[in-house]
């Protein structure tokens, strides 16, 4: 016995669902009325507001956009070049010049006297 035959006994073969009398006869005119009503409702709704921009204002917008784009490009270019032109650490050291006060401080800190300095300068060291 097929499985669905097991519950055929629950199915009398009669459709247990009913509709109100005249339902199908009334359905089409009722639906078409609704379609017309909804169509009129849609037509009666104000058209969506479109924001129109006057030509002068449009030009100003383009100009503002161009200025912003120019600033961005300029800043980007400057930063890029600056990044490329950074001196190496050794160059930075070579260009660093001590003034006299700083030199005295260094000499004091290292406890160098004039004889030691002369000694270093003669390249004997």
């Amino acid at each position: 016995m097929k499985e669905e035959d097991m519950f055929r006994k629950y199915d009398s073969g009669r459709n247990p669902f009913r509709t109100p009398s005249g339902y199908f006869e009334d359905f089409t005119p009722r639906l078409m009325e609704r379609i017309k009503a909804e169509g009129q409702q849609t037509a009666a709704q104000p058209a969506p507001v479109r924001v129109t921009v006057k030509p002068v204002r449009r030009l100003m917008r383009y100009a503002a956009a161009a200025v912003i784009a120019g600033v961005c490009i300029g800043a980007g270019t400057y930063l890029y070049q600056r990044q490329l032109n950074l001196p190496s650490p050794s160059d930075a050291m070579a260009e660093y010049v001590l003034d006299e006060d700083e030199l005295d401080d260094v000499l004091d800190y290292e406890m160098l006297d004039n004889s030691k300095i002369a000694y270093y300068l003669t390249e004997a060291y």
């Binding site: 499985e3 669905e4 097991m6 519950f7 006994k9 629950y10 199915d11 009398s12 009669r14 247990p16 669902f17 009913r18 509709t19 109100p20 339902y23 199908f24 359905f27 089409t28 639906l31 078409m32 609704r34 379609i35 909804e38």
Partner: protein, 183 residues
Amino acid sequence: MTVLWNEKLIVEQLRDTAQRERAFTLLVEHFKEQLYWQIRRMVLSHDDADDVLQNTFLKAWTGLDGFRGDAQLSTWLFRIANNETINFLERRRQQMSLDEDGVASAAATLQSDPYFDGDETARQLQEAIAQLPDKQRQVFNLKYFQEMKYEDMSELLGTSVGALKASYHHAVRKIADFFQSRD
């Protein structure tokens, strides 16, 4: 008055704005009962079936320009009705309380529907069907009540014949289990 159905002519008239409304009226007349019963077996109550059927035809009306004629009108309408039904069931499920399952919901719906006059066994069969997932219910209803061929069902639901057979088999098994557990 019986109007002969000429699908090709109806499709042409639906594309013509001057004849569209008349052609659409004929389309509604031709398909309303078939679609109603397809929907009713899923949603159970008459009021819900009426709502879903109206929404189906409204969607069809507003989507007429999108109908390219690749499929038959019946297939196109069936798919719209199917989507509307599934969406309706989904919305109803979201409104259901957490402790209410498909069987309890079906029982309550049938109880309150004055247009269901089945006896206790018919009610039990509907409750057994209501426990199935939507897709299985659809397949079961089409096969068991409407005796639709799997090939036709495959075109309507966009599912392979093999998957439909498996789905129907699972549905039958679950309904049989439902009755065995109650006997």
